[in-house]
C-alpha cells in the first residue's frame, strides 16, 4: 500500500511528522532549494535527537518555524559575530525533543533574573563609588573626633558577627523600616528583627552587642550607645578591631553602623553626654515600631 501524498490532518494518529529544518514542506516538495537561502540570525544547529529528562526541568522553548529554516553553518557564523551573550531564546538544535516539560518562558525568565541581578550590582557599585574615600578597619586604631569614619569591604561586611563590646544600649532599623532598641540590662523598645537563622539581626548576647552580618542586607543602620567609663570596641570575624573612646568633656561617642550598598560604614558621632537614649533616638531619627495587638484589629 502506498502512502497518500496528502495525508489526512483531521486524524491525529495519521498526522505526518514534520521534519526539522523544513518549514515549508510544500515548497521543499516542489523542489525549491532552501540551502542557498540567507540564514536568519536565530538559526539552529543540525537536526539531532535529543533526550532530555523532564525531571531536570529543561527550559528551552520549542523551536519555531522561523528558526528551523536555515542550515547549521549559519549558526556558527552568528556565534562568531556575537560570542558573548547569545539570545536567550535561540534554539540550540532542531529535531525531535523528548521530555519537553517546562514552560517556554522559563529561559527568558532566567535571563531577566540575571539582568536584574547585574543591574542591582551595578547600582550598588555606583552607589559605593560615589562615596568619599574612607580608611578601612585595619587603617584606624580608634574612631574619634579626628578619625570619624571607616568603611568595611563587601566581604568584611557580611561574614560572621560584628561584636560591639562596652555598649550600654543599642537601636536598629531594618531595610523594611522595623525599628527597635534594647539596653544591656534587658529593657526593650520597638520590634526585634529575627533572621532566618533564628537569631536577632541586632541584639545582645551577654554584655556584648552583636550584629548578624550574614543578614547584613536586612540592616539599614544601627547605633550603639556607651554610658560607661570604658571605651567601646568593635571586632570583626577577621579579628580586626577598632575602639571608640568613653565620654569626656561632656561629650559621648555614639557608634553608627550604616549600610550603603554592599558595605558597612562605621561612624563615631559625638552627642552631649546628658542626653537620654530617647533624645539620641530622636537625633538619629529612630522611630520605634510597635506590633499592634490582635485585639486592635477591628474588622
Amino acid at each position: 500500500m502506498t502512502a497518500p501524498s496528502n495525508p489526512r490532518t483531521d486524524l491525529v494518529f495519521l498526522r505526518r511528522r514534520i521534519k526539522p529544518g523544513r518549514t515549508q514542506p510544500a515548497a521543499a516538495a516542489s523542489g525549491q532549494a532552501t540551502a542557498s537561502a540567507p540564514a536568519p540570525a536565530s538559526a539552529p544547529a543540525a537536526p539531532s535527537l535529543t533526550l532530555r529528562p523532564s525531571a531536570s526541568a529543561p527550559a528551552r522553548p520549542a523551536p519555531t518555524n522561523a528558526a528551523a529554516t536555515s542550515p547549521a553553518p549559519a549558526r556558527q557564523a552568528q556565534n562568531s559575530q556575537t560570542p558573548q551573550t547569545p539570545p536567550a531564546n535561540t534554539p540550540r538544535s532542531a529535531g525531535l525533543v523528548l521530555g519537553r516539560g517546562t514552560t517556554p518562558s522559563s529561559t527568558s525568565a532566567r535571563a531577566q533574573r540575571l539582568a536584574a541581578r547585574r543591574q542591582k550590582a551595578a547600582l550598588e557599585d555606583q552607589e559605593v563609588k560615589l562615596l568619599f574615600p574612607a580608611p578601612g578597619i585595619a587603617d584606624v586604631y580608634e574612631l574619634n573626633l579626628v578619625d570619624r569614619v571607616l568603611r568595611l569591604s563587601a566581604l568584611q561586611s557580611c561574614v560572621g558577627t560584628m561584636v560591639v563590646s562596652g555598649s550600654t544600649a543599642i537601636a536598629w532599623e531594618s531595610v523594611r523600616g522595623v525599628t527597635g532598641g534594647k539596653t544591656v540590662d534587658g529593657h526593650k523598645a520597638g520590634t526585634p528583627v529575627e533572621t532566618s537563622g533564628n537569631r536577632e539581626l541586632v541584639g545582645y548576647n551577654g554584655r556584648e552587642a552583636l550584629v548578624s552580618l550574614r543578614h547584613v542586607r536586612e540592616l539599614r543602620r544601627a547605633i550603639f550607645i556607651n554610658r560607661s567609663s570604658s571605651p567601646m570596641g568593635v571586632q570583626l570575624f577577621s579579628g580586626d578591631t577598632v575602639a571608640l573612646p568613653p565620654a569626656a568633656d561632656g561629650t559621648q561617642m555614639v557608634l553608627l553602623a550604616h549600610r550603603i550598598g554592599n558595605v558597612l560604614e562605621l561612624r563615631a558621632e559625638p552627642v552631649p553626654h546628658d542626653w537620654p537614649d530617647i533624645k539620641i533616638w530622636q537625633e538619629f531619627d529612630f522611630s520605634m515600631t510597635h506590633r499592634a495587638p490582635v485585639s486592635s484589629y477591628g474588622r
Binding site: 528551552r60 550590582a121 542586607r217 577577621s238
Partner: protein, 183 residues
C-alpha cells in the same frame, strides 16, 4: 546528564561544542531547628594559575553579586543557589573557579554541616539542561564548617568540571588561607 563521584571530572565544552554559558546550581537541605541553626553561604572563588584568588573582586557571594569582569553572577537566593558563568567572559588569567559553601561563623552557635542533608552541585546550560551532577554522600560532617563542592577549570582551550566534596574543619578562615583571600 552524568552523575559524578568525588574526584571525577567532565569535559564540558568538548562534549558540548559551542557551550559558552553554564549555570552552576548548589543545593542542600538542613534539618530545621527551633534554636539558632547553621546557615550555609555559597561562595565562588576565581583562581589564577597558582590556585590563589585573583583578588577580592574575583569573589562572588550574596553581598558581591557579580565578579569584576562580569563573567560570574550570583543569582541564587534560596535553598537552590545558582551561579551563572559566562565562560567566554572569564579572563585568561583565571584558570579555575571554585564553588564552595561555608557555615557562617556566627558567634551564637554557628553549627556545622552535620545538619546538612542531600547536598549537591550540578552544572547546566543556560537553558537549564543538566550536564553533570554530583550528589555528595559524605559522612562524619560534624566538624566540617566549609565544603568545596566542585570546580570549573581550564584544560587547554576547554573547560572541565571536577566534583570535589572536600571538607574543611576550619571554615571560611581555612578556605581563605588556602586560596589567599583577604578577610
Amino acid at each position: 546528564m552524568a552523575a559524578l563521584v568525588a574526584g571525577a571530572n567532565a569535559a564540558l565544552t568538548v562534549e558540548n561544542p559551542g557551550l559558552d554559558h553554564v549555570v552552576v546550581g548548589m543545593g542542600w537541605d538542613t534539618i530545621p531547628s527551633n534554636g539558632p541553626q547553621a546557615e550555609l553561604v555559597p561562595f565562588v572563588v576565581m583562581c589564577d594559575g597558582d590556585g590563589k584568588a585573583v583578588s577580592n573582586d574575583h569573589l562572588v557571594f550574596f553581598n558581591q553579586l557579580v565578579s569584576a569582569d562580569s563573567s560570574v553572577t550570583f543569582i541564587g537566593d534560596g535553598d537552590q543557589e545558582q551561579i551563572d558563568v559566562q565562560l567566554k567572559l572569564v579572563p585568561e588569567d583565571v584558570s579555575k573557579i571554585i564553588f564552595l559553601a561555608y557555615v557562617d561563623p556566627e558567634l551564637r552557635g554557628h553549627g556545622s554541616f552535620a545538619s546538612v542533608r542531600s547536598a549537591h552541585i550540578r552544572v547546566a546550560t543556560d537553558e537549564n539542561r543538566e550536564l553533570v551532577r554530583f550528589n555528595m554522600s559524605v559522612l562524619k560532617l560534624e566538624s566540617v564548617t566549609a565544603m568545596i563542592f566542585g570546580e570549573l577549570y581550564r584544560h587547554r582551550t576547554d573547560w572541565k568540571f571536577r566534583a570535589l566534596g572536600q571538607g574543611y574543619s576550619t571554615g571560611l578562615a581555612g578556605v581563605a588561607k588556602d586560596y589567599g583571600i583577604s578577610l
